[in-house]
Symmetry: C2
Subunit: 372 residues, 2 copies
């Protein structure tokens, strides 16, 4: 792995090793020197967890028994995602940074030791397996008080380049099936660190949602010869009523069968399998639509919207021509002071019930006045 | 539909019509007369909602656009699930009751007018359908301050008889595919009425979870000739370490791949497809284990545990020999003051990450001291 690598859009990546052996990657636009050392005492790394099969539905569950000690809503002075200062040593040894990605200190999934494979026999006697995978943390900005929607277009472009770089590298690991960059935002959904950041989970198994999307896309292709997601985007463009924002290279819409009070899919107009395949033009015009969508979300109720922003990508080793990159943003807030909870029907049966039509939420999002 | 019907265990059902035409069913053990009339002004019923297909995963989403006006955490004096008093007219016209089941005033699903069928072509152009189904409310007790775990064994037996009666009758409706009795308990999971109650959703489509369980059970049967759930229960009995409670007719265990901090499956020792097929002995010994399990849950942290208690039954028209009745109780509480949130990995990818091994939570549940 090269320590310094020049990426697209003037971004240079600089890899450094942390005190406990983890890697931190600085993504910079001004060729900064990154030489600060991690001066913290070395703490023992938790061991790898366990994958167990839930045979009732044939889904893997990852058990990471050592995460209960995670730091929980620390005050700003103790934030592990702020730059290191004289007052405190954080996860980021430098006193300033643009965007960094480092190995998660409490990973749910981690690289296996030596040979690894997922058990293939499926039933009550399926053996367990080490919880193989990679978990990384993406810091969007050194500014503790910002959020993604406050970033400059330049910063968003750098974040995108970091996501693209991580997707490319993680896809090369032979035990990885799926790379998933995402952001959880808001205490309402359990965020434990307020500093603006996202995460990347690289799974060693196909996550249930990806598996189900692949099954539907495969059936649809067999029946029609078309790619399902492309036909869905075409339908949204035709219907128009659920479109929230668009530019030459991206479209953002509330899907016809949205299952959250606010749900937005952001898709490139020229479809691709994953972030690494985006054209330069698509990359360069992503910050505009990303910021617009998130700013609209925050202004619907004029309170910072809790959300999950999830990059769905084609899996690394299959379905590359059947699944398409899109960014799914979902919020459980249905009104100020009211959240949508996933209770009996959703949680136990997977059957979603929605109070609000997608056309309503699309209109609310469009009617917001934002200053571009 | 007969107005008065004698069920098992000395329970008599008495059907009455509410002011707006909905049905309320009293389940009584002392042949009480139920003649009180619903004296409230008639309010207009909301229209039937809409089913839309999410083609990305081939799942139906129900849109019930008129539920945003639901009553939200009313004070006890305005509780619609308490008996009617001189001070206020509630959903239950009688001044006392044992167990009642009535049609939900704000149903997510409701019976269709005339002919109804689910669209069979599956893709971006799948038409919508009326959101057919039935939603009912089950009041466990007239006592506002109780919870299920406080009921007497006799009351639990009557609740069970009500669930069985509703399952039998709802299964006879030609537009129903699945009958799902459940209880949401606790403000943490969005319960809007504190009065102890459950709900019944009868779906006109196979809920995604049932569909996935049916797919796994079918594959397993084809490979082994065995019923998957039976083999899973046999494994739990063999392993023993995750068993929480048992009696001659029921077993309660934390499943090997539990996906919530506390998850308990309660299953009859003699497997059946649904509640209507339970033997008299199994019915009569259900209250003991149900109360023990819920009391253990409440005493793990000595705070009332938020939970979802869900009856998984075989669907009405298929898989009757492949899927088995079991009661799944899940709680998101992992410690006092800490909940498990379904964030990026679980919510967007369906990939569950657990901090706690099932063997740990089973031990915590067993070690609780309860007074039987």
């Amino acid at each position: 792995m090269r320590q310094i690598k020049d990426l697209a859009a003037g971004v240079r990546r600089n890899n450094r090793t942390m005190a406990d052996g983890r890697t931190i990657r600085y993504y910079d636009t001004h060729s900064q020197l990154r030489e600060a050392n991690d001066l913290r005492p070395v703490e023992e790394q938790p061991p790898i967890g366990e994958l167990r099969l839930d045979p009732l539905v044939k889904e893997w569950i990852a058990f990471a028994a050592h995460r209960q000690t995670r730091i929980f809503l620390p005050p700003k002075e103790l934030c592990p995602l702020c730059p290191t200062t004289n007052a405190g040593l954080s996860e980021i040894p430098e006193s300033d940074f643009e965007v960094v990605v480092f190995d998660n200190r409490f990973p749910s999934l981690r690289p296996p030791n030596g040979e690894w494979s997922l058990p293939q026999n499926i039933g009550p006697d399926t053996p367990t397996a080490p919880a193989a995978g990679v978990c990384e943390v993406v810091c969007f900005t050194p500014d503790h008080g910002q959020s993604f929607a406050d970033l400059s277009p330049r910063q968003v472009r750098t974040v995108l380049e970091a996501w693209r770089d991580r997707t490319a590298e993680l896809s090369e690991l032979d035990f990885i099936q799926q790379v998933f960059p995402f952001e959880n935002r808001g205490e309402e959904i359990g965020v434990t660190l307020m500093h603006p950041h996202g995460q990347i989970y690289a799974y060693s198994y196909l996550p249930p949602k990806t598996e189900k999307m692949l099954r539907a896309a495969t059936e649809y292709f067999q029946q029609t010869g078309n790619v399902l997601f492309d036909d869905l985007v075409a339908r949204e463009i035709r219907d128009e009523i659920r479109i929230v924002a668009k530019n030459d290279h991206w479209i953002a819409f509330v899907p016809f069968a949205a299952r959250y009070p606010f749900e937005i899919h952001v898709a490139p107009v020229s479809p691709v399998a994953d972030l690494t395949e985006l054209s330069t033009d698509a990359c360069d015009s992503f910050p505009e639509i990303a910021l617009e969508v998130l700013q609209r979300l925050d202004r619907v109720f004029n309170i910072p919207m809790a959300y999950i922003a999830a990059w769905h990508q084609a899996p690394v080793r299959e379905g590359r021509d059947l699944l398409r990159l899109h960014w799914q943003i979902t919020s459980v807030r249905r009104a100020p002071g009211k959240l949508k909870y996933l209770a009996g029907s959703e949680s136990a049966m997977g059957a979603f019930i929605m109070d609000m039509l997608p056309e309503q939420s699309a209109q609310q999002l469009r009617e917001v006045v934002i200053t571009k």
